[in-house]
Amino acid sequence: MSFKNELSESSLNSNFEALVELKGVSKVFDSRRKGADTVIALRETTQNIRRGEIITIVGPSGCGKSTMLSLIAGLETPTSGEVFVNSKLIIGPYTNSGIVFQKDLLLHWRNVLDNILLQAEVRNLDPEKFKLRALDLLNLVGLKGFENFYPHELSGGMRQRVSICRALLHDPELLLMDEPFAALDAITRDQLALDFDKFVQSGDRTVVFITHNMDEAVFLGDRVMVMTPRPGQIAEVIDINLPRPRNLSIKDTIEFIKYTAQVRNIFMKHGVLKNS
């Protein structure tokens, strides 16, 4: 039914405009141990991230997925190659983005509202002007009425919702998420994944979402970038033709199972997963 329509719509993406362009980007770290060689965190990579898509990056630890995120955010400089966002070369921190980390990183001495408004304060924007937006965002993530609570009074899931609000306060075109749900329990994680489309206003905002969970990667992504370690590189990028917004029943469909199997098989092929 409408399922098919959306399928064909999201598979039209071959000529989408690129928001982020990685051109031959690599990152090599000097090993701290004496005598040891340098560590290649990310092998030369060329990849585009399209405007308005949600791309999930899945891979085991050490596959360079966090490094890739830091490179896009301009927090690390590439050893070779160039990163462009909006066709502009990234040389310092790229600040028209919002970042959500695995830890919520809320300041314990600020209440929920002030934690969200920190984004405006740091950017020298008038926090008063952003107050309404902050309250709207809180409403959106289901934390209406919690603005005067302190982080320690909230559960892990609620804290991560607050940190998502903080990342979205200035309405960034690019949202970078580094395993944002990894520290949460499985049920809270499912709930946040279900609310995800609403949070990020998918369709308008470009999201790069890092995870080590194959299910989560397929469930959330318009495309899944599968990465393998030693050295970190992109093994494959898979288009996920599943309708949005997604609900949990999608996990029971053949399509979903096929996608996760496809990701798993890539890991098997590259020796990330082995049958014993």
Binding site: A73, L75, P93, T95, S97, I99, F101, K103, L105, L107, H108, W109, R110, N111, L118, Q119, E121, V122, R123, Y150, H152, E153
Partner: protein, 257 residues
């Protein structure tokens, strides 16, 4: 809850009674250990003297502590900002602490005379090291991921310092200030031991020479009261200045209900 607050007072009172009784029961000579009542008596009798001698000691402690707090915090901050400052100042700082400051007191008296200056300096020298160290430790204790987040928001070093590092470091800084405060009292008394014509430390030594044990203990008592009061003054300042302490208290109250 009110009873809980009274417990320390009741304990002190019981100890005093025990003290008084033991002195009487075992007939301990006054020279060795005067009874609390005698000490109290001495305080009342020489009230004017104790009041006028407390003031210079308080002033020395105040100046010494203020100078130590200012220099310690400024030094701690500048060391945390520049690795050059850290490399050059830190070894100097450590080795300066290995010189017994009590032993420098006579030297300082030669240099600066027996006035307020020398005493302030001695109190300062003793008090400032822990303040510097705890400021440094506090500023270094910031979660590197937090710093990364601030960087991603486009924050410069100044914004990161004001909004992240300083608030994170404040509890540590106040821990240092509390230690510094108690050390400033020690410094002032030591300074008065060396050369003074007024002050509680001076009177303590004088009364000791006169074999006036109640006078000695009365001075000790006043010094303790001064020390405890100033310590709590820092604690109250911490309560109002350190962000997050207030709401944590609120949470504690909730839990105890």
């Amino acid at each position: 809850m009110n009873i809980k607050k009274l417990i320390p007072l009741i304990t002190i009172f019981l100890v005093l009674i025990l003290w008084e009784c033991s002195v009487r029961l075992f007939k301990i000579p006054t020279l060795v250990l005067p009874s609390p009542l005698l000490i109290f008596n001495s305080l009342i009798q020489k009230e004017d003297l104790f009041v006028s001698f407390s003031i210079p000691t308080l002033v020395e402690i105040f100046y010494g502590f203020s100078l130590a707090a200012f220099c310690g915090i400024v030094l701690g901050i500048s060391v945390s900002f520049s690795s050059f400052a850290k490399a050059s100042i830190f070894p100097l700082l450590i080795s300066s602490q290995m010189v017994p400051k009590v032993a420098i007191a006579p030297v300082l008296t030669i240099w600066f005379g027996s006035g307020l200056m020398a005493k302030t300096l001695i109190a300062f020298l003793i008090a400032f090291f822990p303040i510097t160290i705890s400021t440094m430790v506090g500023l270094d204790a910031v979660d590197p991921e937090m710093v990364k987040m601030f960087k991603a928001m486009g924050a410069g070093p100044y914004t990161t310092f004001m909004k992240l590092r300083l608030p994170t470091a404040l509890p540590n800084i106040f821990a240092g200030l509390k230690i510094g405060m108690s050390l400033a009292v020690v410094g002032a008394v030591v300074a008065e031991f060396v050369a003074a014509d007024k002050g509680l430390g001076y009177y303590l030594l004088y009364a000791n020479g006169q074999l006036d044990s109640p006078g000695v203990f009365a001075s000790l008592f006043l010094l303790t009261v001064i020390g405890v009061t100033l310590y709590y003054a820092v604690e109250i300042a911490e309560y109002y200045l350190v962000p997050g302490v207030l709401h944590k208290e609120r949470k504690m109250d909730n839990f105890s209900m």
